[in-house]
C-alpha cells in the first residue's frame, strides 16, 4: 500500500494571531463546569421560585393636605349671602391650618332625580379624587359655621388616642333600641368614619372620613342608586342608617363620638346645644323653604366667629 505524501507545509507560516475571544482562555472542561454550575443554579432558582402572585398594591397617602373640608351648598335653600359667609368661614379655617376646601354646589352632581341632600356623597368622592393625598375629609353641612379655629381636626378628633377616649362604645347605632351597636373594642387607627348622633339618630351633617380604599367603598355603597330610589324618608341619612346596620364591614370602621365634638346644634331641641369653645355650630332644621331662616340664625354667630378668626 502506498499512501500519498502529506501536503507540504507552507514554508511561510502565518504570523501568530491574537486570540479571537476571551472564552478560549478558559479551558474547555472548565467552561463545561461553569455551564453545568450555571444551569444547576437556574434550576434551583426555578425550583425555589415558588408561585408568584402579585401582592395587592398599597397606595401611600402622604397627608398633604391633612384635612379637606367639603361642603355642598344649595343656593335656593339658604341664600347667597349665607353661602358667601359660610364659604369664607371654611376658607379662613383651612388657611389657618394648611387645609384645603372643596366647596361645591349640590347641582354640580347628577343625582338622577333624588333629593339634593344626596349631593354630599359625590361631593366627598369628588374631593377624594381631587386630593388623593389628603389624610382626612371632613364633610360639614352648609347650615353650619366653624366657631373655634384653634382646634385642628386631625389632632382634636382624629388622633388615635383622642378617638379611643372619646368614641362611644356599645351604643345602639340607631336610638333608642337598635340591636346593632357600635364596637366595644376598636383601635383608634382602625376607625375610618367618625360621626355623631343627635336626638333622631345618626347625623349626616358633619362627619369625617379617613382617606383610603375603604372610603371609596363606603361612599360608593352609600351612593348606590337603589338606595336613592328607595324613597327613604330622610334620604341619605336613612340610607346611612341602613348600611351601617346591615353591613358589618362598615360598622367595624365607624366610631360615634359625642355630638358636641364636631356637631353642636344651635338649639337644644334636636340635639346637644352649642357651647363656647365648641368647634362647630350647626343650625338644624333651618332649611325649610324660606331662605332667610338660616341667615337669621347665622347672624347670631357671625360676630363671634369673625372675632375668633381675627377678621373684624
Amino acid at each position: 500500500m502506498h499512501f500519498a505524501y502529506p501536503p507540504r507545509k507552507s514554508s511561510n507560516p502565518p504570523p501568530f494571531l491574537p486570540r479571537s475571544s476571551r472564552i478560549s482562555t478558559l479551558r474547555r472542561n472548565r467552561l463545561k463546569l461553569v455551564a453545568i454550575a450555571g444551569l444547576s443554579i437556574i434550576f434551583l432558582l426555578w425550583l425555589f421560585s415558588g408561585s408568584k402572585t402579585k401582592a395587592s398594591p398599597q397606595r401611600i397617602i402622604t397627608g398633604t393636605p391633612p384635612v379637606v373640608i367639603v361642603t355642598a351648598f344649595e343656593e335656593k335653600a339658604v341664600g347667597a349671602e349665607f353661602i358667601r359667609n359660610a364659604k369664607s368661614n371654611r376658607r379662613e379655617y383651612a388657611k389657618m391650618h394648611g387645609y384645603k376646601t372643596h366647596l361645591v354646589s349640590s347641582g354640580d352632581y347628577d343625582l338622577n332625580g333624588s333629593p339634593l341632600s344626596w349631593a354630599k356623597v359625590p361631593a366627598m368622592r369628588h374631593a377624594m379624587a381631587k386630593y388623593p393625598n389628603a389624610r382626612f375629609f371632613w364633610y360639614l353641612d352648609q347650615n353650619s359655621l366653624i366657631m373655634n379655629p384653634d382646634l385642628k381636626v386631625e389632632d382634636y378628633v382624629m388622633s388615635a388616642r383622642k378617638l379611643e377616649a372619646s368614641m362611644i362604645k356599645d351604643l345602639p347605632v340607631v336610638p333608642p333600641d337598635s340591636i346593632i351597636k357600635t364596637f366595644s373594642h376598636l383601635k383608634g387607627d382602625d376607625v375610618s368614619f367618625v360621626l355623631t348622633q343627635d336626638k333622631e339618630g345618626l347625623s349626616a351633617g358633619s362627619f369625617i372620613i379617613r382617606n383610603g380604599d375603604w372610603a371609596e367603598f363606603f361612599l360608593d355603597t352609600w351612593f348606590d342608586p337603589l338606595y336613592r330610589s328607595y324613597n327613604f324618608q330622610k334620604a341619605e341619612t336613612h340610607a346611612l342608617e341602613h348600611i351601617v346596620q346591615w353591613h358589618p364591614t362598615i360598622l367595624s370602621k365607624l366610631a360615634i363620638v359625642p355630638q358636641r365634638l364636631i356637631n353642636a346644634y344651635s338649639k337644644s331641641s334636636q340635639g346637644e346645644q352649642y357651647k363656647e369653645e365648641d368647634i362647630v355650630v350647626r343650625f338644624p332644621g333651618c332649611i325649610t323653604g324660606s331662605q332667610s331662616e338660616c341667615e337669621e340664625e347665622a347672624k347670631r354667630f357671625l360676630p363671634q366667629w369673625q372675632k375668633a378668626f381675627g377678621l373684624s
Partner: protein
C-alpha cells in the same frame, strides 16, 4: 464426546475451564478466584479434581498432557490418577477402579472415553478460537466451582462470605474500569432517577407543590358546590348521584395532583336559607368560611357541580395566575353581552375609576370571572382574599336592593353582582374578566341560540381547561354530557403507551383484519 461429570472425576484434567462448562453438580461449591489465592497466576485451578470436564473440549484424560500439571493450593500436585480429593461417589455395582481416596472410575466409562478421545486425536494448541484466547479473562469473572466444600472448610473459614466480599471487589473492579466520563454520566442519570423517585413516587412532590414558598398550591382553594348529603327537598336519582360522584372525583384528582385544597359545600345543609330572602346567596357564606378554614388560601375558585376539569395537567398557576395580566381583560368592552357602559362617567370620580383598565395593575384584581352569552357567569370564578373581597361579600346581599329587584333578578346573586358592577366604581376597579373558554367552556347545548361561538363553546382541539354544563338541568341530559366529557377527557389525556396501543396497533390490526380490538 461429552463426558458425564460423574463418570470421569478421576481423570482430572488440566485444561483451563471454559465458560461453557454448564452442568455443575448439586454438591458443588464455588468460589471466586482472587489472584492472590494462587501460587501461580497462570493456573487458576484450586482443586483440579473438582473440575467438571468441559463438554466440547477434548478430554485429555488418557492423553499426553499438553501442559505440566498445576500445583494445587493445598500443596502437592494434581495429576491424573492421583486424586486426593474426589466426590467420594462410588458405584460398587460396576467393576470400578477406585483411586486411593475412593474416587471411582468405571471401567466402562473410561473405556468409552478413551474411545471417544481416540475418535478425535486432536492436537490442540492454545489460542485457538475466541474462547480459548479469551478464556482467562472470561473465566476470571466467573465464580469457581468447588465440588466438596467440606474438605476445605477449615481453610475457607476466614473467607466465609465467599460471595459477598469478592462481589464488592468485583464491583469495585468494574467501577474502576469505567471511564471518568461515563462515571459522571451515570452519576447524573442516577441523580435524575433519584429525583424522579423522590418527587413523583413519594409524597415529597405533593408537599413541594403545596408549600406556599415553593409550588404555592396552598394558595388555591377550590370550592365545589355539591349536594353531598343527598337532596333534602328533591329526590335524588341514580343519575344525580353519578353526576356528583364523577364531578367530585374529578376535582379530587385535580386537587391532589397540584396540591390545592378542595372544599365541598353541601348545599342541602344550607336550606336554612330556603325560607329567607337570602336563598342562593350561600356562595357568600361558603367563600367566607373557606377563607377562614384555609388561612393560607389566597384565591378561591368557585365551581358548580356540573363542571368537569378536562385538562388536569394544567395548573392554575401556569394556566392563569403566573401571567395574570396576559390572560385577563379589565375593559368589559372587549366582550360585553350586557352592554354595560364602561368606563363609568361621573364628574366626581377619580381617575382610576374612569379608566377602562382601572389602575392597570394586575395586583389590584380581586375578582376574576368569565362572561357567557348572557352576561356574568358565576359557575366558575375566582376571588382573592382581601379587604375588598370582605366588603364585596358583605355588600353582595342587601335587603333594600333585594326588595326592589328580586322580581327582576332571575339569577339572584349573579344579577346582584351585575348590578353592583354596573353602579359601583369601587367594584369595577378591582374586577377583571377571563375569556370564557379559559375556565368555563360551554357544551354545545348551552348558549346555543346563535349557533356555535368560538368564544363560548368547548373545542377539543384547543384543549379547553374546564367544561361547565351550565343549565343542563333545564331540559338537557346532565349525566349524558358529564359522561361524554369524562370519556373525552380520558381520551385526550391518554399516556403514550395507550396512544401507541390504540392509535397504532389497534388501527393496524383493524386495517389488516377488519376487526376492531380493544387493547
Amino acid at each position: 464426546m461429552s463426558t458425564a461429570f460423574t463418570t470421569s472425576p478421576a481423570q482430572s484434567h488440566h485444561r483451563r475451564r471454559s465458560s461453557t462448562s454448564g452442568a455443575a453438580p448439586p454438591a458443588v461449591g464455588y468460589r471466586v478466584n482472587r489472584p492472590n489465592n494462587l501460587a501461580q497466576g497462570s493456573s487458576r485451578l484450586l482443586n483440579p479434581s473438582n473440575l467438571s470436564p468441559i463438554p466440547g473440549t477434548p478430554n485429555t484424560g488418557n492423553m499426553p498432557l499438553s501442559r505440566s500439571p498445576s500445583p494445587i493450593p493445598g500443596g502437592g500436585w494434581s495429576s491424573p490418577g492421583l486424586n486426593i480429593n474426589s466426590s467420594g461417589q462410588s458405584s460398587p455395582a460396576t467393576a470400578s477402579f477406585s483411586g486411593p481416596n475412593g474416587s471411582n472410575v468405571t471401567w466402562e466409562s473410561a473405556r468409552l472415553k478413551s474411545q471417544g478421545v481416540s475418535g478425535y486425536p486432536s492436537f490442540s494448541t492454545q489460542n485457538q478460537g475466541f474462547f480459548t484466547r479469551h478464556m482467562r479473562r472470561i473465566s476470571r469473572q466467573l465464580p469457581t466451582f468447588q465440588v466438596s466444600p467440606d474438605q476445605y472448610a477449615e481453610k475457607d473459614k476466614p473467607g466465609r462470605n465467599k460471595w459477598n466480599a469478592p462481589m464488592l471487589d468485583r464491583v469495585r473492579g468494574v467501577v474502576a474500569r469505567i471511564g471518568r466520563k461515563w462515571k459522571i454520566r451515570m452519576l447524573i442519570a442516577a441523580i435524575i432517577l433519584f429525583c424522579y423517585l423522590l418527587f413523583w413516587l413519594t409524597p415529597l412532590g405533593y408537599h413541594y407543590r403545596r408549600a406556599t414558598w415553593l409550588g404555592g398550591g396552598q394558595k388555591f382553594v377550590i370550592i365545589l358546590a355539591a349536594n353531598v348529603g343527598g337532596g333534602v327537598m328533591e329526590w335524588k336519582g341514580a343519575r344525580e348521584w353519578a353526576i356528583e360522584r364523577d364531578s367530585v372525583r374529578n376535582k379530587r384528582k385535580y386537587v391532589s395532583r397540584w396540591g390545592y385544597d378542595l372544599e365541598i359545600i353541601d348545599m342541602s345543609t344550607k336550606k336554612r336559607y330556603a325560607h329567607e330572602w337570602r336563598e342562593s346567596w350561600e356562595k357568600v357564606d361558603s367563600i367566607r368560611n373557606s377563607f377562614r378554614k384555609y388561612p393560607k388560601a389566597e384565591w378561591v375558585w368557585w365551581l358548580d357541580l356540573n363542571t368537569f376539569v378536562m385538562e388536569p395537567s394544567y395548573s392554575l398557576q401556569d394556566h392563569i395566575f403566573n401571567n395574570l395580566e396576559k390572560h385577563i381583560y379589565r375593559d368589559i368592552n372587549e366582550y360585553n353581552p350586557l352592554n354595560i357602559s364602561h368606563p363609568l362617567k361621573g364628574n366626581y370620580l377619580d381617575e382610576a375609576s374612569q379608566n377602562v383598565q382601572g389602575d392597570g395593575n394586575p395586583g389590584s384584581v380581586n375578582l376574576i370571572l368569565p362572561q357567557d352569552c348572557s352576561g356574568f357567569n358565576l359557575g366558575s370564578f375566582f376571588v382573592r382574599r382581601s379587604d375588598w373581597t370582605d366588603r364585596l361579600l358583605d355588600i353582595w346581599w342587601d335587603p333594600v336592593a333585594y326588595e326592589q329587584k328580586h322580581m327582576e333578578w332571575e339569577h339572584k346573586e349573579q344579577d346582584a353582582l351585575e348590578q353592583l358592577y354596573t353602579t359601583q366604581p369601587w367594584i369595577r376597579k378591582h374586577t377583571a374578566f377571563l375569556p370564557q373558554r379559559k375556565i368555563n367552556s360551554f357544551p354545545n347545548g348551552a348558549c346555543s341560540d346563535n349557533g356555535m361561538d368560538p368564544r363560548i363553546h368547548y373545542n377539543q382541539n384547543d384543549r379547553d381547561f374546564l367544561v361547565n354544563m351550565a343549565g343542563c338541568e333545564w331540559g338537557r341530559d346532565c349525566w349524558g354530557e358529564m359522561y361524554n366529557f369524562r370519556e373525552l377527557s380520558y381520551y385526550l389525556n391518554r399516556n403514550p403507551w395507550e396512544r401507541f396501543k390504540e392509535d397504532l396497533i389497534a388501527v393496524i390490526w383493524f386495517k389488516l383484519t377488519g376487526q376492531k380490538v380493544k387493547l
